[in-house]
Structure formats: structure tokens, C-alpha cells
């Protein structure tokens, strides 16, 4: 009860001040009434008694103030008072307040955004039960995710460490729910997928292992909540409906819960179907055919990851021994599935950690900036502070005031920054960076983001609030009042290094780091856009059609492919048309082992190289703009009736045959032992990633090795829009139900360039913010130093100083600090850029353009920031100035 009373009392002082006032009034009135009663009893009339009582009582307002202090001398009360005082003080210098709040809003906003992305990509788990024990399995020294179905079955059945091991493939199908064929992305999964992930259906039921009885035995479809919501309008009768998937009837079994978006962080599947429905025997039976995207499962309770790895390795050893032809390098490791294990995980983590660091630097720079603002403000207010000290205010109380001001600014700035960042994050979350894929960047802010922003705001408030503490503690009221307004800055004009100088150097150095890294990234991106891909993306159209999805099979596939090429060639303005099974840098890759001609034991470990395979039409190389270095191109005569031939790239020739010249008309062997003759050598290119080192590749004639995957490359200088329309009409005329996706090749490179683009934009924004901060920092310092030394400058001019000398006196110091900070920042930035090289293709700081750019940028910043103060210094009129004093 006592605690409650005391709490009530404390809060009453803050929130119910008016009530407390009235209670106090009533108590004092009651006192005076009682006194008047006594006086009346001694013979006075009532009015006179009350008048006397009031006089005896003394100064009521004074006592009320004392009572308030006695009662309200608690933390909340004083703080409320401090806040009111700070608000009043800030209102008196709105320029300072606005500059400070905006600086901090920018810095906190940047940090909130970066942290929210970090939070979403790294800290926030997948929406899967028990996700702490969920791992994906990676194979071999290259940490490959891909596995073949037979290997997966062995892993699943022979391990003793996992609670169900499941696998899936990312796949695109044509779904037709009745006259509306559309391409959608989803997972082909093993029957135990939902059981292993411990997911319960939102509607209907899921399929299980027991539903599978060999190839094509389980024509069942599970759709995602999002797809059900947008395409079936939450229709609950959808369960049991039969729809067409790639022209085969499938039954919709159920709907996944809304919070489940598959087992990849930014790829949301629209559907799940059992992979036993795959056409052709290759997937389910061929042990060397590794096209399962990912194997994952929960490690059993009580089993450590190390034990699980040992268990998997023993299965791997068994596989190597039993299937020496297909299986080699069967050692395993575990990784987190959300970012495709080690494929994206480390890069994303490294990049986001780097970004967080840079954002932290921005905040630090902002704090340094605000710190010097506060120090300057304290210096300006030294007379006021001295007066307050002289009048009996304690230093503690004054410091409290300064900190209240700092925290107030940091909270308002933090709130503003957070508001901005939430708006930006919502945009980011709704953004689909590459429309072709169901990619999402779900970076909605959560409680953690708000907490971090609040913490950062408070911490920075205390940080920059602490800058002027020493200054205030040293203030001697006597000295200040005696010296007047000019005396105290005498020190800063001299050669002594002040705290403000150090802060400015730190800030400029941080800014230079940011500018350096963003320039490095920009240069890298510019170069990667113009580097040699091994093909020419300009003036090319890509037409994606997967014939197997449209129901083509067997001999109808190459026939249709040939007809498509011939049809597109008749479009006016089209120079050449070709197709490939796999578009280079298109996000996918298919590789095969090749062997030297002498090899007889065709096991994986004896392979001469793992080679990118492109099954192409004769005109493809010309259409794609890939240069033929030697030999002949492919022709329509290279069909099933003629000897097997191939065009290989220069790297292939060097790897297998020693040199390019050596390779022509030589033979090599494929996985099944077929001898293939090299008839042409093509230039090297980029096939999977921009940052890859040269990889061997071979181009096989499609009439000798058929493929259903067809991406047509149409070379033409016509307007892309018109051309796309013409292409669509032509193909629709041949087969109205043919699914197709038409885009320019430059667009098609979006996926490959996505990481470096994101990195560049992010770094560019941070660099810009750093530049802005240092601009205001230098400006503040220069303007302050000029304004404080106006009188000195006036005297110098009166004594005959030239403009140059005046400028040197006024701005020499800020410029010297700028040079110092820039040099330090440039060196640090070069060190930091090494990290960048992992993400941004061809990012190197050892580039004269980058170094020159940084120096130029910093010089420009300095010039810009000191321009106005310099003008002011030069326009000093000594006469007016001296008269004023």
C-alpha cells in the first residue's frame, strides 16, 4: 500500500499536476479558515479575521512553489521540468534544432533500414516448426546442393540422424484451371515433404509417402495460401477440383497455411506437387542425373550436427563404393536452407554485416557532427551557463539540461527516421525485383527493429550529449563574465587541437570511407555491364518456351523447334534466330562430365572436366553474337544420322587438349562413352555467375541431343515492343496454348546483375549520406570559426591583409582537417573495398579513376562547404565591425 501511495504521489506530481495544485490550495485554504475561526473566537468579525489569517500565513505563492519542490523533487518531476526547459531553449534556435533532428533522422533511418533487412534475411527464421534443427545437406568440397533422386533415396533410408529427409526442385509449370493457361512457379517435392517440415494443411489435406506408388502415381497438387487467395478468391470448394498441370489432370488436395512460404527465404512457391510425376525415366532412376535442388530435414533431438555429418559421410562412403561410376566426392556438410546454404548464405551475411558496419559509421559520423554542434552551442551559451552557475545552479543540473536536450533531439530524430524507414521497408517488401520469378524481399519491420532504433537513438543522444561535458565542467563563471563574448574563443584560434577538431577529422574520415566504397562499387558495376560475357545482350530478344510443359514429347519436340525458328525468321527486320536449352547467365546451369578419348573407366572421379552444356540450334552462336575462333559452325546436317560433333569453348580446348589450336577435329568422350568430335572453337563466356573464372563449355547440336527446354534468341534491331508483339503473334498462330515469356536479353540479365546492382545502390545511398553529413560538418565548423573570428578578421583587413591571407586565417584550419580526414578515410576505404570484391564483379580500389574520384569528391565537398563561410569572411567590413564593438 505504501509503495502504491508513493507511486500514486509521484505520478500525481507529473500527470495530475492540476489536481495536486487544487488539493494544495484546499489544504492551505483550510489552514487559513481554521486560523480565522480562532481569530473570530477572540473577537474579530469574520472578514477581518480572514484578512488577518491570510497576512499571518505569509506569501502563499512562495510556499506553494516550495511545496511543489518538496513534493516534486523526484526524477520524473525534474525531468519533466528539464524537458520543458529544453523545448523552450530549442525553440529559441530552430535552425540548430532542425539541422540536428534531420541529421539524426537520416542516420537512424539508414540504420533501421539496414537492420530490418539484416533481420529479415539473417536473424528471422523460416516459418517452419523447430527450425533450429532444420538443415540442408551439401555435398563435396564445392558444397553442392544438387543431388540425384536415387542418391537422395539412399540418404533418406540409410541415415539414422534425421527426422525424415525431404527434397525438392524449383519448377515452373503451366496451370490451366479451365481455359486460362498460365505459368506459375512452385516446388516438386518428395512425398514426405509436409510431414518432414511438420506443416499442417490450412484447408483439405496434404499428400504423404503412402500416396506414391512409382512414376506418375500421385497426380496431386497442393497450392499456397497466397495463390488460393489471389487466384481462387478463397473458394473452399477448390479441394478435390481437377486442374491441368502441363496438360495432365491433377487433383487439388489442399492449401498450405498462410504463414508458410516454402523453405527458401525469398522464393515463394505457388504450388507443391510430388516429384514422382516427372516425365521420363531420367529423374527417378539415373543416379548421375543430379537435378534435385535441395535435400533438407530436421536433425533428431539429441543428435549433434557433427554426429549427423559423420552419419551422412558413412552413407556417402557406401555410395562411392557401390556406385563408383556415378558417385565421387561424397562427403557431406550441413548448412541453413533459408539462403540456399553456402550458395548465398555467406555472401549475404558478409554483405549485410558490411552494410551494418557502414550504417554504424554513418551514425557515428552523425554523432560526431552533432557533438561538434553541441560543443559550439555550449560555447555560444557560455555566458548564459556562467550566469546560471553564478546564480547558484549546480553543474549537475546544467548537465542534466544538456543531456535532456540531446536525448530529446535524438528521440525526435529517431522517430522521424523510423517513420521514413518503415515507409521505405513497406515499399521494399512489396517489390518484386525480377518479375519472371516469384521473388520477394519480405523485410517488414518487427519489434526488434523498433527496439534497435530506439536504442540507437538513445545511445547516440548520450554520445553526442557527452561532447560538451568537459567544457561545461571547466566553465568558470567569473572568467566568462569578465571576458565577455570574445574571450572564450581565444583558445580555439590558437594552435591547440580541440575535441571539435578531432570529431571533424573522424567524421570526414568516415565519410571518405563511404565515398570510396560506393565509388568502387559503381565502377565495378559499370565495368561488369561492359565486360565480355561471351555473347552480345544488346538488340536480342529472348523467347522462353518450355515445350514439355505444352505437352510436346518425342520427335514432335525438335520438329516444333525447327518450325519456330523458321517462323520467326520470316519476321521483317530479324537478322537471325537460334535457340539454346540454357541461356547463359539466366540463373540456371546444367553441366556434364567429359572424358579424354583414352579414358575407358568412365567413373566421375576420372572425368577430365565438368562442363557447361548448351544444346543449341545451328544459328544460335550467330544469333547470340558468340564469336567462333576456329573451325566451322553447326549445321542442319549435324543430325542423328551423322557422327556426333560439338563446338567447345577456348577454356574447354585448353583443359582437355592443351591449347586452342590443338583441339580442332580431336575427339572426347561423354558420360555414356560416346565419342564426340570437336568441329569448332568458340570464345569463352560467363555462364552461371558474373564473378566466375573461365569455365569449360560445349555447344551440342539439338538434332543429336534433344531437349525440351527452349529459349529462342532473336537478333534484330527493331523496337523491342513491336518485335515482341510480332513474335507472340507468330508463335500463337502455330500453337495457341504455347506458354511463352518474351523479354530483351538485357532484361534477362537482371538476375545475374541483381546482387551487384543492389550492392551498388545500397552503397551509393550510404555514400551520398556520408557526403551530406561531412558537408554539413565542414560547413558548420567553417561557418562557426568565421563567425567567431569576424572581429579578428576585420582587424587583419584593416591592417592591410590581402584576401588570400584572410581566407587562410579563416579557413586554413577546416581545410587542413579535411585533408587529414580524407587521407585517412581513403586508406581505410581501400582496405574495406577488399570485402566488396566478393559481391561486386570486378570491384577493385586500385583503380586511378576511383582514387581520383574520391579525392575530387572530397575536394568538391570541402569547396562547397567552405564557400559560404569564405564569402562571409571576405565581405567583412572592418569599419562597421569595429564600430559595433
Amino acid at each position: 500500500m505504501k509503495l502504491f501511495d508513493s507511486l500514486r504521489f509521484r505520478f500525481a506530481t507529473l500527470f495530475e499536476r492540476s489536481q495536486m495544485n487544487s488539493e494544495m490550495d484546499e489544504e492551505l485554504r483550510s489552514h487559513i479558515q481554521h486560523r480565522a475561526d480562532d481569530l473570530q473566537r477572540s473577537g474579530l468579525d469574520r472578514a477581518e479575521a480572514e484578512r488577518r489569517a491570510r497576512i499571518e500565513f505569509g506569501g502563499r505563492e512562495k510556499f506553494k512553489q516550495e511545496i511543489r519542490e518538496a513534493a516534486g523533487g523526484n526524477f520524473i518531476g525534474t525531468t519533466a521540468q528539464d524537458v520543458r526547459f529544453s523545448l523552450r531553449a530549442l525553440r529559441k534556435s530552430p535552425g540548430f534544432a532542425i539541422a540536428a533532428v534531420l541529421t539524426l533522422a537520416l542516420a537512424i533511418g539508414a540504420n533501421a533500414v539496414v537492420f530490418a533487412v539484416l533481420n529479415a534475411l539473417i536473424l528471422r527464421p523460416l516459418n517452419v516448426p523447430d527450425q533450429d534443427s532444420l538443415y540442408t545437406i551439401e555435398r563435396g568440397s564445392e558444397k553442392q546442393q544438387v543431388t540425384s533422386y536415387p542418391d537422395y533415396l539412399d540418404l533418406r533410408d540409410r541415415n539414422r540422424s534425421f527426422d525424415g529427409l525431404t527434397a525438392y526442385i524449383l519448377t515452373q509449370v503451366v496451370l490451366d484451371t479451365g481455359g486460362n493457361p498460365s505459368e506459375i512457379w512452385g516446388y516438386e517435392v518428395t512425398g514426405n515433404y509436409f510431414d518432414a517440415m511438420k506443416i499442417q494443411p490450412y484447408l483439405g489435406r496434404f499428400f504423404h509417402v503412402s500416396d506414391e506408388h512409382g512414376p506418375s502415381s500421385a497426380p496431386y497438387l497442393v497450392i499456397s495460401y497466397a495463390y488460393w487467395h489471389t487466384h481462387f478468391q478463397d473458394d473452399r470448394t477448390v479441394v478435390g477440383r481437377v486442374v491441368d498441370v502441363n496438360k495432365h489432370p491433377f487433383t487439388i488436395l489442399g492449401v498450405t497455411p498462410p504463414e508458410f512460404n516454402g523453405t527458401l527465404l525469398f522464393f515463394y512457391p505457388d504450388f507443391f506437387l510430388p516429384m514422382v510425376n516427372q516425365e521420363g525415366p531420367a529423374l527417378l532412376n539415373d543416379r548421375g542425373h543430379r537435378n534435385i535442388f535441395m535435400v533438407l530435414g530436421h536433425v533428431k533431438a539429441g543428435v549433434t550436427p557433427a554426429q549427423a555429418i559423420a552419419d551422412l559421410n558413412s552413407v556417402g562412403a557406401y555410395l562411392e563404393k557401390t556406385y563408383p561410376k556415378e558417385d565421387a566426392d561424397m562427403t557431406y556438410s550441413l548448412a541453413r536452407p533459408a539462403l540456399i546454404g553456402d550458395m548465398l548464405g555467406p555472401a549475404v551475411k558478409g554483405f549485410m554485416t558490411g552494410m551494418m558496419l557502414l550504417a554504424g559509421l554513418i551514425l557515428l559520423a552523425a554523432c560526431a557532427n552533432l557533438g561538434s554542434l553541441f560543443a559550439a552551442r555550449a560555447a555560444d551559451r557560455s555566458r548564459e551557463l556562467a550566469l546560471r552557475l553564478a546564480l547558484g545552479s549546480s553543474r549537475k543540473r546544467i548537465l542534466r539540461g544538456v543531456f535532456t536536450e540531446a536525448v530529446l533531439i535524438s528521440l525526435v530524430g529517431g522517430a522521424l527516421g523510423l517513420l521514413g524507414s518503415v515507409a521505405l521497408l513497406r515499399q521494399l517488401s512489396a517489390w518484386q525485383p525480377i518479375p519472371e520469378y516469384p521473388m520477394h524481399v519480405p523485410v517488414y519491420p518487427d519489434a526488434k527493429v523498433y527496439l534497435v532504433a530506439l536504442f540507437l537513438a538513445l545511445a547516440s543522444g548520450f554520445l553526442f550529449g557527452a561532447v560538451p561535458v568537459r567544457q561545461i565542467l571547466r566553465t568558470s563563471p567569473y572568467e566568462v563574465v569578465k571576458a565577455g563574448s570574445t574571450g572564450i574563443i581565444a583558445g580555439s584560434a590558437g594552435g591547440r587541437i580541440t575535441l571539435r577538431d578531432i570529431l571533424l577529422v573522424v567524421q570526414i574520415a568516415i565519410c571518405a570511407v563511404l565515398v570510396t566504397s560506393s565509388l568502387v562499387a559503381l565502377r565495378g558495376l559499370a565495368r561488369s555491364m561492359h565486360s565480355n560475357f561471351g555473347f552480345e545482350p544488346e538488340n536480342r530478344m529472348l523467347v522462353d518456351t518450355t515445350l514439355s510443359m505444352a505437352g510436346y514429347s518425342g520427335d514432335r519436340v525438335p520438329a516444333m523447334q525447327r518450325r519456330m525458328i523458321e517462323a520467326l525468321q520470316t519476321i521483317p527486320g530479324v537478322k537471325s534466330v537460334g535457340f539454346t536449352s540454357q541461356i547463359p547467365l539466366g540463373g540456371g546451369a546444367s553441366t556434364e562430365d567429359v572424358f579424354t578419348e583414352q579414358t575407358t573407366d568412365l567413373r566421375t572421379s576420372n572425368a577430365a572436366a565438368d562442363v557447361h552444356v548448351f544444346k543449341v540450334s545451328p544459328e544460335y552462336l550467330h544469333a547470340a553474337g558468340t564469336t567462333l575462333l576456329a573451325g566451322r559452325g553447326l549445321s542442319w546436317q549435324d543430325d542423328g544420322n551423322s557422327p556426333r560433333v560439338a563446338i567447345v569453348n577456348a577454356q574447354f580446348a585448353r583443359r582437355i587438349f592443351g591449347s586452342v589450336n590443338n583441339a580442332l577435329s580431336k575427339h572426347y568422350k561423354t558420360e555414356d562413352g560416346t565419342r564426340v568430335q570437336v568441329v569448332g572453337i568458340a570464345e569463352d563466356g560467363k555462364y552461371y555467375q558474373l564473378t566466375e573464372s573461365p569455365r569449360p563449355a560445349m555447344f551440342l547440336p539439338f538434332l543429336q541431343s534433344s531437349t525440351g527446354m527452349t529459349t529462342l534468341v532473336v537478333r534484330s534491331e527493331r523496337d523491342p515492343e513491336q518485335l515482341a508483339g510480332a513474335i507472340r503473334n507468330k508463335l500463337r498462330g502455330m500453337d495457341a496454348s504455347l506458354p511463352m515469356f518474351i523479354q530483351t536479353w538485357t532484361h534477362g540479365l537482371d538476375l545475374a546483375l541483381f546482387p551487384s546492382r543492389v550492392a551498388t545502390v545500397a552503397l551509393g545511398v550510404l555514400g551520398l549520406m556520408g557526403a551530406m553529413l561531412s558537408l554539413t560538418g565542414i560547413f558548420g565548423m567553417a561557418a562557426y570559426s568565421v563567425s567567431k573570428r569576424l572581429r579578428e578578421l576585420g582587424i587583419r583587413m584593416a591592417l592591410g591583409a590581402r584576401r588570400k591571407e584572410v581566407l587562410q586565417a579563416a579557413l586554413g584550419r577546416p581545410l587542413k582537417l579535411l585533408a587529414l580526414g580524407s587521407t585517412a578515410g581513403l586508406l581505410l576505404g581501400i582496405l574495406a573495398s577488399r570485402v566488396l570484391a566478393f559481391i561486386v564483379y570486378e570491384a577493385t580500389p586500385r583503380d586511378p579513376l576511383v582514387l581520383g574520384g574520391v579525392v575530387l569528391a572530397m575536394l568538391l565537398l570541402g569547396l562547397l562547404a567552405t564557400w559560404v563561410p569564405a564569402q562571409r569572411a571576405l565581405s567583412v567590413n572592418p569599419l562597421i565591425l569595429l564600430r559595433e564593438e
Binding site: 483550510s30 475561526d37 510556499f63 523533487g73
Partner: protein
Amino acid sequence: MNDQAQILPGTLDLLILRTVSLGPLHGYGILLRIGQISGNALFIEQGALYPGLFRLVRQGLLKASWGTSENNRRAKFYELTAAGRKRLREETASWNRLATAIACALAEQPEEV
């Protein structure tokens, strides 16, 4: 009026605690009681009592509640809390020690030093 002594700083709290220890009192009553028990020897400005009262309430030594006075007027009554009672005992003891010491010192004859 002139023979009244100004109270020593810090002793008002002790006086209030002592007065209220005899039973709940309102502000004016406390003032009267102090006059009574000190034989009108101590002068306290009337309004000066209240900051002390509020301070003691905040420190948890007194608790206050509204009631009706003997004059049939609404008034705020103060009484000791357990902590207040304890503080009164300690302060009384220490005051007595101090007073005795000072009285002794002043009573000494010069030649005995």
C-alpha cells in the same frame, strides 16, 4: 513576539514528527500543538510548515488523509507511519545527545578546562 526563538534548520521535521506522534493532526493543529508543547517559545512561519509536511510524506514518514476537523471543516490529517515512528526515535536520541553535549560544554567553568 520577540522572545520567540527561530527554530534551527533541520529541527522542524523533528518537531512535526514529535507532534504528530501523539495522534493524527491537520496542518494548523500541528502548528498550534508545537506552540503549546514548546510554551510558545518557538516561532514558525505558518506557510513554512507545509513544504516540510509534503517532504515528510514523500519520504514515507507521514501519511495524509482528508477528514473533518473539530471546527467541522474539511482538512488534511497527518499521522506517523512505522518508518516515521522509527525515524522519530532515532532523531530524538541523536538530538538529546547533541543537546546534552552542548549543554555540558556551555556549563563548564573556565578554570576547569
